[in-house]
Symmetry: C2
Subunit: 173 residues, 2 copies
DNA sequence: CTGATTTTTCAGTATTTACTGAAAACCGTG
DNA sequence: CACGGTTTTCAGTAAATACTGAAAAATCAG
């Protein structure tokens, strides 16, 4: 039945478009999120040209965002025998996706924050005025908390999906 | 000793500047992050004019970012008797800050994602082709995972700081 | 080595987001 | 209800970010 194929195409197009819009909120650019959505729901791996055509974007744009997704580890290139072009496919396992995103966010958001907090804490160490003590204490408590959250995130990412789930179930129960 | 006061000012200025730069990564605008940093490390609550002067920004800019921070719940206005102007002070408790940020991120990032995933899953329900089944399954597994993560986040935010810490300690131990 | 195909780069441009400054609205006081 | 201080709005502008398209570089088969 042809309508089924159309319904699927429609649902998928919507997913790609909306996921792209969401990407903006997440601090990821729209195109990158769209390509990710497209590849996550592609039955077969795609070439750069196919991505360009599907999303109606330029070669340069497709290229740089594909590279970025590869750098994140959210997609990978696959070689097909007898094919000179590169094909790309997405990581589809949700737990994998989660750990990749968590790792990247940690690198870009948590680690730099820790560096700043630590430096400001050091610089204000031993200042004897009440303001100095308060500032130092504030830096340390922020640092402690962020460092702690960072370690938690690492731990969880290293777990196997099943184990994390089981543990969380206990927490939610 | 005057150098101590200077050292503190220097450390604090650095914190404000760097925290602002970090804000960009977090998808928060620089000024908003700077005002937050400034107020988090202010011994006393500040007026809009003081914020403007300290960060060398316009009134409009100060105003709108202060309002945004109030909307998040990261700062609040305080009234001083005999003063007509509004003063602002930041929430300083790290656990509070964490839960506020978690709540806001959930609202802006998680909830819309869930809505999309759920809709696309519904729309592709019952399509009999292999591609249709695969798409539907992918939507559902993403939805399940995100919904689960969302519930976890709620649970943790509702905990008292001490309890969350204790639980996490067990996890890290 | 040559020529065809594919990937990469990047200057120029478009779009989005943030900021300024001044005018308008608001608000308490006399 | 008029006045001075204070907050809010917003049109215009500046800055940051993303995208295009074409040229250059790389890759590979013959």
């Amino acid at each position: 039945m042809n309508t089924e194929i159309e319904k699927l195409k429609q649902a998928r197009d919507e997913f790609v478009a909306q996921w792209g819009a969401l990407g903006t909120q997440w601090g990821i650019n729209r195109t990158m999120a769209q390509i990710h959505a497209l590849l996550m729901t592609a039955p077969e791996s795609l070439t750069t040209d196919e991505v360009m055509e599907e999303l109606e974007i330029s070669r340069g744009n497709a290229h740089s965002n594909i590279k970025e997704l590869v750098a994140w580890g959210l997609i990978r290139s696959v070689v097909k025998k007898g094919e000179r072009r590169e094909f790309f496919e997405a990581e589809k396992d949700v737990w994998q996706i989660f750990t990749i995103v968590a790792r990247e966010r940690k690198r870009r958001e948590i680690d730099p924050a820790l560096a700043i907090l630590n430096r400001c804490a050091e610089e204000s160490e031993g200042i004897a005025t009440p303001e100095g003590k308060a500032f130092h204490a504030q830096m340390r408590s922020l640092e402690d908390f962020v460092s702690f959250a960072s370690k938690m995130s690492d731990r969880i990412s290293l777990m196997k999906h099943g184990f994390a789930l089981q543990m969380a179930a206990k927490l939610l129960g």
